[in-house]
Subunit: 100 residues, 2 copies
């Protein structure tokens, strides 16, 4: 992943659910850590697979919330012209990775 924190990529507005999304991602991180420990402990594969599926579902829900926030605050207020085109292009690319 790209880890460069570029200031021009930050938002100048606040998202309604940002804190909630960060909290969800924290919980998912904890869940994933538990799954890793289950695997290291040699727990049943089917059980581990179920938990990985649960982590994936939780991730999808966090992404859905983020997407709804994004639609409400960024896309609707995107103005027009090049800015709007870029925002929609970026969003479409991200969706292509999500919905396969």
């Amino acid at each position: 992943m790209n880890d460069n924190h570029q200031p021009d990529h930050t938002h100048d507005h606040e998202h309604k659910h940002r804190k909630q999304i960060v909290n969800r991602l924290s919980r998912i991180e904890g869940h994933l850590r538990a799954v890793k420990e289950m695997t290291a402990d040699g727990r049943d594969c089917a059980e581990v697979l179920l938990q990985i599926a649960a982590v994936r579902k939780a991730l999808d829900n966090a992404a859905k919330l983020l997407l709804k926030d994004h639609l409400e605050s960024c896309v609707i207020n995107a103005g027009s012209g090049d800015d709007r085109t870029k925002i929609l292009d970026d969003l479409n690319k991200a969706l292509d990775h999500f919905i396969r």
Copy 2:
């Protein structure tokens, strides 16, 4: 999730890729932590969505490796009768959650 470590749920054999799977899950955990920080920092939504999709893909690949290990070592050596039926039932349930 169920966090009870029940000794009767551990395996009595070693999986070929267990250590590799644990390492992958560790890396995914680190990736997810970075995505959480991106979100907290207010980074662009489309960028965060792309990274969440990358985490999901990495999780799917870890699950696939686990499943292959499971097929090689547990399912093939499952013996017969009730044990085999339970192992296949559990695996089918896990797959139902994965492939939707």
